[in-house]
Symmetry: C2
Amino acid sequence: MKKSFFLFLPLCLFLNMQCKQADQTNRAEPTKITTKDPLPSWNEAALKQSIVAFVGKVTKEGSPEFLQPSDRIAVFDNDGTLWAEQPVYFQAAFIFDRVKALAPQHPEWKQKQPFKAVLDGDLATALGGGEKSIGALLAATHAGMTDEAFDQIVLDWIKTAKHPTTGKAYTDMVYQPMLELLDYLRANGFKTFIVSGGGIDFMRPWTQQVYGIPAEQVIGSSLKVKYEVVDGKPSLLRLPELNFIDDGPGKPVGIHQHIGKRPVFVAGNSDGDYDMMQYTMTNPLPHFGLLIHHTDATREWAYDRESHIGKLNKGLDDAGKYGWQVVDMAKDWKVVYPGG
Amino acid sequence: MKKSFFLFLPLCLFLNMQCKQADQTNRAEPTKITTKDPLPSWNEAALKQSIVAFVGKVTKEGSPEFLQPSDRIAVFDNDGTLWAEQPVYFQAAFIFDRVKALAPQHPEWKQKQPFKAVLDGDLATALGGGEKSIGALLAATHAGMTDEAFDQIVLDWIKTAKHPTTGKAYTDMVYQPMLELLDYLRANGFKTFIVSGGGIDFMRPWTQQVYGIPAEQVIGSSLKVKYEVVDGKPSLLRLPELNFIDDGPGKPVGIHQHIGKRPVFVAGNSDGDYDMMQYTMTNPLPHFGLLIHHTDATREWAYDRESHIGKLNKGLDDAGKYGWQVVDMAKDWKVVYPGG
């Protein structure tokens, strides 16, 4: 269950990564929808038709499969489902950038692991300590400040950081077809939620602007916080202690804690999403599931069963058993990122 | 911090309590609003005017105090703020009713504490074991089943149980002025949340119908749950282990975990609400706070500093310091419950 925080830094892929900074805005304008087609970036194929058919039947009053608006709960994984996740989860890039940014205030890091290794680009050593190393990196970069201070750090980073191979802002590496799907579901009375193994407070500062999903509809892994009045100012202090891991069987638990209802629509891409997909696809109410299969080495990445990031085995094996639809990214998506 | 689960069964008050069951619906029709006044059950006094003035200025575009809709987060305590809480928190009545209902399946309870004492009406002994006794009662009544089974038990109880002194259904002991306030805020673009020390899963099955607040906007204390496939059926099993206590300094923490934003509107009634009121009243954005002071021994109850339930000291002492408005229930409310 702890894999999301502790395995999100795959060595083999990270070693080629460089982080460039630039002063640019954090999201390209989404491709304009100029026709009445609510999903213009999806190719006309069986999968798109099945989405439209599902939404049509559950929103048609009098239909035997009509869903009350209060039951229209849609949950989306984030990494690899709403935005890219290669060559490393983008939150890992944030962590390493933070270590570099904070290093001048910590001269001792030059001699202290795992920080020395991060600064030297020697990730093998940085992660040699396993959970202990990652814990130290999280404590140094995600804790020891108020929630509001952390929000600002995330916002500053997301506005300026660039992906090492595409050169794009990370928030320009969201999937245009999924932005359209989110809009389409909301226009049909669905409430859209993120259910991610990533850090809840790493996502919340920008999900409204990027996905149209407000902070209160984001579920993720978290550190503990403590309420305390510091110098007369009531604050939430971020502690270097894990609170909840929202991954694998933790995802249905996170959904229960935050939403309190079994979803009717789910989208995921890796085996970390398997449990929430299974949970949704066994809802007695009408339901629908999408599994994003990364098949597009040209426009994005192609990976599944052997990948260090987004490993996908059970999700492919059990698509027939549970009835989720497998998105073939290369065939089903006209464009990948906003702007084509 | 653990007071909500462990102190909600005050002996002195509970001893006179009897639980009657009847087959009736669970909520009287709210008093009809026949004028354009959005708060007809509030007397025309300074307090009502201050609510209307606040909502007016923060929703008027161009006003220096205009709040973006996404910032309009309103949080409400439940026990003593949205519904009554005397002579015991209503969830305590549920627990004792459940013990009585389950007793035939547990003949050993006749000899086993704390169950024997509950069945004998000897609450002094039932609670003599403190946390251990309460833990045993929670385990027997709130855990060991799926989330969906528990929801149904709560719904069945809330539809039929009656308050020992008023004879009303518990959901008819909600406060009409507060129902109007919830509606008024929502009509002005506020998102309304419950933030209660009570059990989150005890409230969620009925808050939409009674308050217009959906399950996903309810925050409360919780037990741990575990995701497990039992006989091929993916389920969430309720475990006899505390997950989170949403009371006192836990309330701002619960708000952070679930909402991720500092509220701009808060209502509470006891010192268990003090921290979330302080947290809201120090929001740099325009904000408003209400403290419900139970002053009406005729229509409801009168209690504050010495009460076993809803003890209120700091909330009264610091109203001037933080600027929350104190509702004098006897003077400010035209009616208390729906139907007058």
